[in-house]
């Protein structure tokens, strides 16, 4: 039997249990509020219907289990891994589990968000408690049936066994279990007894994906639904003056043309007709704010870095003094462009706004926030809203912003019809909420061969790094340390993009570290390890990373990559980075082929605590590394006159099959609480390849995308 760890969790978090009319049990659990119980929601017994619930485990008479996945699925794998955690503690065979995507349900869940790589981290405790509590109730029901103490019974793989060796299946006792009191102080398993956690599980939607079943937002259809193609301002800073829809309205399949704000929606009975009719709209635009360009942004951001108008996010010691007293100073500037998200599934959303209710369906990373904004926009009660989350054809941060859902709701409200707003690829790339262009200037003061001060300055468009970042490495390792930020307010919309800020900052800081080690004639790995020594045992609670865990991933990647046993013609770049609560170290292997540096392999060491689903975890890491390489090498969205200069994949280069390296991943094995993997493997990749390219060619990379620099001159030869 498993070693049970007492759970601290209150039974008040369990909000409903019920036997089902059709057999089986539903266990209602207030996921994520378990740790901070609040007043119980009133239970509406009449609503106890399988179809109405989200936060539940449903066990059928035959022992088959349905688990509702609470969080939105964008390809990060939580629709598989979160139910795995419940199933582990419930102790049922994984192949008896059917997973269903939960709807937005603010009564029963909190943090139904896909963002920040936090689903697993925040879900870990409540998901285990959900499964364990259900298991205990089933055991209690069996004990009552047998007339024995429940402590004499054990449960494993969906079967309850008593001291006499008699057995009952979960399905046999589920009806009785549903009527029992919700137990307090249920035990949780010892990690060494895990059967599901730590074992490979395939994507729960695998069969549907490979056979083309409707899963995604764009696959959603409703009787009478119209497709809306929206004409938006052609440049940031433009507003709609007038439009002529005579041609569009006369086109086949067009049902309506509706102006809202500075946009015009064409509603048609097919997507194609809607898109064609949108092209036939004739609009006049006027300027309402300056048209910005990349050249202008470059100037503004460099001026900010040269200036004195900074907001200081962290200052340790006296950086000014350290620089004044320095023998030598290294100062470098790193530059990055805007990036669109380019989800393979363009933005889209279905809305049917009626007097009775608002029905919303589509791909969204922030269902709750979006529902609230729509309620506010339409001056409606949020309780009128039913929001269903579809699987998402990628997110990368773009679907945190519900702009497309708000458009759908607004159009449906005006048209009094069910509509699906569909972005064309061109709409998707030009009406983006982009990763902003950012520049970093990093300087270090050196005295007597030691780093005495470190100063990081950020100049960004619209927003600056979030408050935790200044407490990442090397914070705490240097006596004199300062992080300053400044921003330029632009009319170009910007927002989160997979691993916000760190997706570029890691490249800048880790490239700088490598150059600093070179200047000091130190081994770059040893220099990091030496700095980490100073953070061990720190009492500074602001420090986010663990020096020990960073050391673990560094040692693991050094061992596995063969960094200490270099091969002729293979140039290796090392990088270690912490973000999103996960420590990652990467070594990129670059070779020269046809006079060009080619990334052949990336070795990755990861400490994300317990790995819930190794099969899914490896996919996230491979994807993150290759995404990081692709965007460092090729990603670039420039602006002229407020207009994005790329609007489709013919003018925007994404990494493809022929450009990918082999990715080899190793996990630090421990039993610490799990952390997320959607983002942390991406940030180190850009630095690892830049450092390897430098070794191979002698050229330092300071500006993304690297391809511009690599194409500019003969690097080798």
């Amino acid at each position: 039997m498993s070693t049970l760890i007492p759970s601290k969790f209150s039974r008040r978090a369990f909000i409903r249990t019920s036997s089902l009319a059709g057999g089986g049990m539903l266990i209602g659990f207030n996921l994520f509020t378990a740790c901070k119980p609040k007043a119980e929601m009133p239970i509406d017994i009449s609503k106890l219907n399988f179809n109405d619930f989200n936060a539940f485990i449903k066990i059928a008479d035959n022992g088959m289990v349905t688990i509702f996945a609470p969080n939105p699925e964008i390809g990060q794998g939580v629709k598989t891994s979160m139910p795995m955690i419940i199933a582990e503690e419930l102790d049922v065979p994984w192949n008896h589990v059917h997973v269903v995507q939960g709807k937005l349900d603010t009564n029963n869940y909190t943090r139904q968000v896909a963002g920040g790589s936090q689903s697993i981290r925040f879900g870990w405790d409540p998901l285990r408690q959900t499964g364990a509590t259900a298991r205990q109730m089933l055991v209690n029901a069996a004990a009552v049936r047998w007339g024995v103490e429940s402590s004499e019974c054990t449960a494993s793989q969906g079967i309850i066994t008593n001291a006499a060796g008699e057995t009952l299946g979960y399905g046999d006792v589920v009806k009785e279990a549903a009527k029992l009191e919700v137990p307090e102080n249920v035990g949780l398993k010892d990690p060494k007894d895990y059967k599901i956690i730590g074992s490979d599980a395939s994507n729960v939607d695998l069969d549907e994906i490979v056979s083309g079943k409707p899963l995604f937002g764009l696959d959603y259809k409703q009787e009478g639904m119209l497709y809306a193609s929206v004409l938006r301002p052609p440049a940031f800073g433009k507003k709609l003056e007038s439009y002529d829809d005579n041609v569009a309205k006369a086109m086949d399949g067009v049902v309506d043309v509706i102006k809202f704000g500075d946009k015009v929606a064409v509603l048609a009975n097919t997507t194609w007709r809607a898109m064609k009719a949108k092209e036939a709209l004739i609009a006049e635009w006027s300027d309402n704010s300056p048209m910005e360009s990349t050249a202008m942004h470059d100037k503004k951001l460099l001026a900010l870095l040269d200036g004195n108008e900074f907001n200081t996010l962290r200052a340790d010691g006296d950086v000014k003094k350290a620089f004044k007293e320095a023998d030598n100073i290294l100062e470098r500037t790193y530059e990055s462009p805007f990036l669109p998200h380019n989800c393979m599934e363009p933005m889209n959303f279905y809305a049917n706004v009626t007097d009775e209710r608002i029905h919303l369906v589509g791909p969204i990373q922030t269902p709750e926030g979006t529902a609230n904004r729509i309620a506010e926009m339409l001056d409606r009660d949020v309780a009128d809203i039913e929001l269903e989350m579809t699987r998402m054809g990628g997110g990368f941060g773009r679907r945190l912003y519900g702009d497309f859902a708000l458009e759908a709701a607004e159009i449906s409200n005006l048209a009094k019809k069910p509509v699906q707003v569909v972005f064309s690829r061109e709409d998707d790339m030009t009406a983006g909420i982009y990763r902003p262009a950012i520049k970093y200037r990093i300087s270090a003061s050196i005295k007597d061969g030691q780093i005495t001060g470190y100063h990081l300055k950020e100049a960004s468009i619209n927003s600056n790094m979030y408050g935790l970042i200044p407490n990442f490495f090397p914070a705490g390792a240097l006596e004199n340390y300062q992080v300053d930020v400044a921003k330029y307010d632009s009319n170009i919309t910007t927002g989160a993009w997979r691993a916000p800020y760190t997706n570029f900052l890691s490249f800048a800081e880790q490239s700088f570290m490598d150059e600093l080690a070179e200047l000091l004639d130190k081994d770059p790995v040893q220099m990091r390890l030496d700095l980490l020594q100073k953070v061990k045992g720190t009492t500074d609670e602001r420090i986010q990373y663990s020096a020990e865990r960073m050391e673990d991933v560094i040692n693991l990647v050094v061992e596995k990559s063969g960094l200490r046993t270099p091969k002729d013609g293979v140039y290796q770049g090392f990088c270690a980075y912490y973000c999103h609560n996960t420590h990652v170290a990467e070594v990129a292997d670059v070779v020269i082929e046809n006079n060009k540096p080619i990334v052949k392999k990336v070795t990755v060491a990861v400490d994300c605590g317990i790995v819930i689903n190794p099969l899914g975890a490896l996919n996230q890491i491979e994807g993150g590394v290759i995404d990081g390489i692709g965007h460092s090498m090729y990603g670039n969205l420039s602006f002229e006159d407020g207009t994005p200069q790329s609007n489709n994949f013919d003018r925007y280069r994404l990494i493809r099959m022929k450009e990918i390296p082999k990715v080899e991943t190793y996990f630090v094995k421990n039993t610490l609480s799990p952390t997320g993997l959607g983002e942390p493997a991406l940030p180190p990749a850009g630095a690892a390849i830049a450092i390897a390219i430098h070794k191979a060619t002698g050229n330092r990379m300071y500006k993304q995308p690297f391809v511009d620099q690599l194409n500019k001159k003969e690097l080798v030869g």
Binding site: I209, V210, S211, L215, S242, T270, G393, E622, G623, K658
Partner: protein, 181 residues
């Protein structure tokens, strides 16, 4: 700067004439007889409608995905007479008399060796591009049952996977090749 009102009036004049033209054409849609997944289907659509949208909106077969609309990403790939082609670029008028296979028709139950390989390797992350990847891979393996690693990479280079599940796609194509023997 040109007077906005003047420009607007010109547009209105032009558009009125275009409407006249369009109204003349706005008669009954032509009917096209298509053969999709071995089944005859007839659709009434305008001649310029791409096969992609005929499949998705008229026949409600949504396994074929829209992503770029200009033949750059391969998400909409289907088989036309056995070759993988981008359905976003194929006007329906050119489809008569051709055999079209979509992801829904690749096998009845997801048991085509390429689909089986995709499941065995657990390829997808978000999954959106995978139908197109599978259609490209299955047409390729029919023509080249013993591909080298670089032939696989060449064959799959036209399909973008934004999640970058490329290593697994590559591996799954190799596994599928073995299964098809």
């Amino acid at each position: 700067m040109i007077n906005l009102e003047q420009r607007f009036l010109t547009f209105q004049f032009l558009s009125r004439n275009v409407i006249k033209l369009l109204t003349q054409f706005k008669t009954k849609m032509p009917t096209y007889n298509l053969k999709i997944n071995g089944k005859s289907q007839s659709v009434d659509v305008s001649a310029d409608t791409p096969l992609l949208w005929v499949l998705r909106d008229h026949l409600e077969m949504v396994g074929t995905k829209y992503s770029c609309g200009i033949g750059q990403c391969g998400a909409c790939n289907v088989h036309v007479d056995g070759s993988a082609v981008q359905s976003c670029l194929l006007p329906v008028a050119q489809m008569e008399g051709k055999n079209v296979t979509t992801i829904e028709g690749l096998s009845e139950d997801g048991s085509h060796p390429v689909q089986e390989a995709w499941k065995e390797i657990d390829v997808p992350q978000c999954g959106y591009c995978q139908a197109g990847q599978i259609m490209t891979a299955s047409a390729f393996l029919e023509k080249n049952p013993n591909p080298t690693s670089s032939e696989i990479k060449n064959a799959m280079n036209g399909n973008i996977c934004r999640c970058a599940s490329y290593s697994r796609i590559n591996e799954a194509v190799a596994v599928a090749a073995k299964k098809m023997k």
